[in-house]
Symmetry: C2
Subunit: 246 residues, 2 copies
């Protein structure tokens, strides 16, 4: 599928995903938001809470550092504990340092005052932001994310991540949202492969995908047509139905 | 956490994950199996059904090609349709070509004979295997996966993927399974951060993680201790409970 839409990657940081303890969900949520917005998600990565791993991935994925994509979104590792090293690692990748940010500290102090708690060293750790970064608002629990270069750093807690995504994405330059149509057929993928291949040749501007599944009724396949032009998507789906005599 | 266990990465191939249409689950399943087996999963990636993306990722992740990890597992892109290009891309990464494999063809032919269907060009496409690769058994739907170098290529359909994992993993050299203990506390992560940090300094051979969550009762944190020696894990959990007066 050809597209002038911005390209993007998601980097999830956290041992709990790699150990299988937690099933990743933030990248899935953001993938849906990006598709609806017109940002072309090209890659997801999950790495552990280790500085080298994070630095290498940020440099490989953020175009402002010579990496592959226009935008990089991260999730995880910006909390108050010793294994939350994302702010430092992202700062290092961008050739700077993380230090306590006055605006972030004020947000945390205001929240602590309101809740009658103390701004402990652990909480203050969440105000450590790379020098030169812009804050990402956290309406859920206060502690902000941040943007530096083309890297946008958000929290791992799902509610907080979603809040940050809702605040951030509308502010980014985006392209034309991807249109899609899908149809479920009760046939194996092999039985539709040839028709799909021939159709793909006639609609090179679109992406035609087939996704087999198995349920209590046996095998079936979901056929999905995606593209930027809704009329072309409609035309391809019509042609597909004719070919398959649906 | 120090470990002599083999290191591993998972590469998921499929536009449907990146578009947000499908939530990834195979990598999560395999992560749990690897942790229980004693294989140290260090990275997950998801890339689109594009040859360059797959080739680059395989070369970056498979140590037999100069990549980062002892083992690489892939999921997706080995079906019968035009967008199933994993066999060709993995072959290319390993400096060889995919062609119809006699043993794989025999498996598919036997299955077609049994089901009274024909071995169509689409189905035969699933017998295309890189030259020199070893087959991975598919007890669910016949069409095999394969292993070449340190890359192990499996299907994307969850039932088939799980069947292949169950067949493959016991045959791989593995290490000591990771032991873990966890405890849930009804406190914010900030309130346990300092205790956790001090404990981590005394148990440098273990991995101590904290995973905040939010539910109808408010904020809580799961604290997880992981390591290879069950007695050390037990000792750290006991010390943690004492520190937190649990």
């Amino acid at each position: 599928m050809q597209s002038d839409n911005p390209s993007a990657a998601i980097l999830v940081i956290g041992d709990e995903i790699l150990s299988g303890r937690t099933r990743e969900g933030n990248a899935h949520h953001l993938a849906q938001v990006l598709t609806a917005t017109g940002i072309n998600l090209c890659e997801m990565r999950v790495v552990s809470d280790e500085q080298d791993q994070i630095v290498d991935a940020v440099r490989a994925l953020d175009s402002s550092l010579g990496g592959k994509y226009d935008l990089l979104f991260t999730s995880g590792g910006i909390g108050p504990t010793h294994d939350d090293i994302t702010a430092d690692a992202v700062a290092l990748a961008h050739g700077t340092l993380a230090e306590v940010n006055d605006a972030a500290r004020a947000i945390l102090q205001e929240r602590c005052d309101r809740m009658g708690t103390e701004l402990t060293p652990g909480r203050l750790r969440m105000a450590r932001i790379p020098i030169g970064a812009r804050l990402i608002e956290n309406a859920v629990s206060g502690a902000p994310g941040f943007s530096i270069g083309n890297t946008h750093v958000m929290a791992g807690v799902p509610e907080v991540f979603r809040g940050m995504v809702a605040w951030l994405i509308p502010q980014l330059a985006s392209g034309r949202p991807v249109q899609s149509q899908s149809i479920e057929v009760r046939r194996g993928e092999s039985e539709v492969a040839e028709d799909l291949k021939q159709l793909a040749a006639s609609f090179a501007d679109l992406s035609l995908g087939s996704y087999p599944f198995h349920d209590e009724k046996g095998w079936g396949t979901n056929l999905v047509v995606r593209g930027l032009d809704p009329e072309r998507v409609e035309a391809a789906m019509t042609a597909l139905k004719q070919r398959l005599a649906l």
